[in-house]
Symmetry: C2
Subunit: 227 residues, 2 copies
Amino acid sequence: MNRLMKPGARERETLLNSGLLSALGVESVAAMMEIAAIGNLPARQMLFREGEPADMLHSVLSGYVRVYKLDPDGREADVELYGPGDLIGASVVLDGGRYGATAQAAEPSLIARFDLKRVRDIAGRRPDLAMALANALSGQLARAFASLADDRLHTAPQRVARYLLAQCPAEDKATSFRLPYQKSLLAGKLGLAPEALSRAFSMLRGHSVNVRGRLVHIGDPEALRRI
Amino acid sequence: MNRLMKPGARERETLLNSGLLSALGVESVAAMMEIAAIGNLPARQMLFREGEPADMLHSVLSGYVRVYKLDPDGREADVELYGPGDLIGASVVLDGGRYGATAQAAEPSLIARFDLKRVRDIAGRRPDLAMALANALSGQLARAFASLADDRLHTAPQRVARYLLAQCPAEDKATSFRLPYQKSLLAGKLGLAPEALSRAFSMLRGHSVNVRGRLVHIGDPEALRRI
DNA sequence: CGGGCTTTTGAGGTGTGTCAACTGTAGTGG
DNA sequence: CCACTACAGTTGACACACCTCAAAAGCCCG
C-alpha cells in the first residue's frame, strides 16, 4: 500500500462516522485511533489475498473495495462490495487464521488498517469494541444470507429491480439517481455477468426504468416491485 | 417450543463443548448457564420466523436446524444448516432488530435459547463473551462467502464433490461414511433441487463415488478433486 | 402387507454464461 | 480541436446447466 500514514484531521473525522467506530466510547475510539494507519490505494490494487495469514483489519474511508474468491482456473466470483464507512468483514479473522477471500480496490480508495493482534487485544479489554465487531459481522452475515437467497430465488431482472428499489427513497414516486460505481462492478455484486446485467436493464426499460450511463430514472417504483 | 426447562447435567455438558461457550471463562459460562433454557423441538417446528422481532439467541445441542428465506410466492431458499454445537447466526441480532430468516428444526432437536437482551447485557460487561460471538459470526460469514462463491463458480456435480471431500479425512485414500441428514436437506444446503442432487450423485458414480441410501463410499478422493 | 414419504428417472422449458462482434465513451497526445 | 486508442457497455447466437412438472421406484414404519 502506498504512503502509510497516521490519520489526519480529515481521516479521523471520517473514521469517527464509520460503522465500526461510531458506536464506541471515547476511550475505545482513542485506542483504535492510536493504532490506525491510513493508506491510499490506486485502483485495482490488492489489500490482501485469499490464503494469506490474516494480520490486518480494514475499513473503507472512501472508494470501493471488491472482495472475491478465485476458482482453480482463475474465474472470479464477487462475494461482497464495501463502500465508505464499511468494515471489511472478510478481514475479520479473530483467531489468527487466514483470509478467506481476496480484496481489491475497485477504484482509487482511502483505507484504514488496524493491526489485528492489537485489535484483539483492545477488544479483549473493552467490550464495546468487541460488541461493535460482533454487530458489524451480524449485519454482514444478514446481507450475505440475503444475497444467497436472492441468487437462488430470483432471476437477473428481478435482482436488478430489487437493487434499484433499495436505492430509492421509501415513497412510491418517481426518482432519479446515479449508480455509485460502474456497471461491471454492480454485475459482480449481483452475481451476474456484465452482459446479463445489460440485458436486465433493457428488459426493465419496458417497466418504467430508464438508464443512460450511470444515471437511472425510475418512473413507477410500484411497477418495479411487481416484476 | 415444548417443555422449556433449565439445563440438566447432560445439557450443561453439551453446552460446554459448543462453539459459543467452549472459549469462555468460568464466570461467563456460569452467567450464560444461568439464563439458558433448553427446549425439545419436534421435526418441522419453527424456532423463529423472518420478520419477527428478534429476542432470543439459539444454539443447537443435537439435531439439525434449517434456516431459509421465503419468496413472496412461497418458494424457499436454504441459507444455512446448523448442527450440534453451532450457534444459529441468523438469531444474532445485536441491536434489537428482527430475524432476517426463518429457522425450522429439520429433525427432532434439542435447542438452547438465551434471552438476547440479557446476552447483550452480559457481553457488555464480559469481553470474552462478546469476542466469542464475534468469532462465531466471523466463521459463519466466511462459510456464507464460500457458499456464495461456490454457487456462482461450480456446477452441481462439482459442489457435491466438494461437499463429499470436505467430509473425508485429509488423507487421499478410500473412505466410507454416512450422510448426517437426508438428501433433500443436503440438496437445500447446496442450493440445489433434490432432483439435481440425485443426478449429480449418479454422475459421480462414474468417478469412484458410490451411494446407497445415506451410505457413501469414495474410492479415489484425488479423482473427485479433479471434477 | 399397505400407506406415506423420500429418492430416482424422464422430458421439456428457460435463464444465464460464454464467445464474438459492434457501439459508445472517455481520456491522451499530436 | 480532432484523431486515436483503450476500455466499458451493448447486442446477438449458442450451449448447457438447472428448475419444473410428472410419474415410477424404493424405503421405512406401522
